[in-house]
Symmetry: C2
Subunit: 170 residues, 2 copies
């Protein structure tokens, strides 16, 4: 069994894979509605128009992982971006590898612990593990591509026997 | 002062104005990711392509209303839909009027109390009050149109002196 360390999710560290969706002084924001609301503007590159696709909104309800977390599958969406925003007030795990050819070994993976206030938008083609909720059943708002075409490729990585180390955070 | 009663938000009651974004057995849903996740699929009609627009993701941070809630403004977006999903675990108020010419009197308004688990997608052109958070500062994930063109019209309704009655819910 190989162990990978999770790192805290930041916009800079996640930049090779997409965008972090969060309230931050570092992003463009401005007051609207007579000062009643602050708009943190255009936080993700929604990229869903390939092959006549369009953006759609769904909710994913994810079962929690059993500890320790063992990776099983990576998937990617060659035709569009996919954004996840947590709705259940719980942190969750993110495992990614760069867009392009599928990764072939664990050292090509990056592992992040997202807070309950942080969403992510995977850029088109970025490899990612399916949702890794922790502790309890968690809902996520998802913005991804609706349209025809084969937009999900998977590879099985269970044989890699990778376990995520969260010891820093517990 | 005129009082309008809020009603609980349901997909059926909200249908003239857009979609409710929520987990429900009544919407299409199916299992993905080896049974680990249930996908409640394509819950809103994201309509952002008019005049070369595109869908974008933002976060709105809204100040809470002071009680009693008095309506001040209605706005509409003639070029695109606008979806709001609550992120802070709090209910909120929705005030709408049909798309088209601006409403001219209070009886054209519908008032809903949304739960913390319910988002809404305003169809293109639907008149709506800006965010009416209750109790505390609340964040909302917003999916709306990015692009050029004048996409926000407002009318001032403060002189209507409309107060929202939440007595049924407190």
């Amino acid at each position: 069994m190989m162990r990978l360390m999770a790192q805290r999710l930041t916009a800079a560290a996640f930049a090779p894979y997409g965008q972090v969706i969060e309230v931050s002084d570092a992003v463009r924001h401005f007051s609207i509605n007579q000062g009643q609301t602050e708009r943190y503007h255009d936080l993700a590159q929604v990229d869903t128009e390939t092959a006549d696709g369009r953006a759609g909104i769904s909710i994913f309800r994810a079962k929690p992982q059993v500890h320790p977390v063992i990776l099983s599958v990576l998937e990617h969406h060659p035709l569009g971006s996919q954004a996840f925003m947590p709705l259940s007030g719980q942190p969750y795990l993110i495992v990614v590898a760069p867009a392009g050819d599928p990764p072939t070994q664990p050292d090509q993976l990056a592992v992040f612990l997202a807070s309950s206030q942080q969403g992510v938008n995977y850029a088109k083609g970025v490899w990612h593990h399916p949702l890794l909720a922790l502790r309890t059943v968690c809902d996520f708002l998802v913005v991804d591509r609706m349209g025809s075409g084969h937009n999900c490729h998977e590879i099985n990585i269970a044989t890699w026997q990778v376990q995520i180390d969260l010891i820093e955070f517990v």
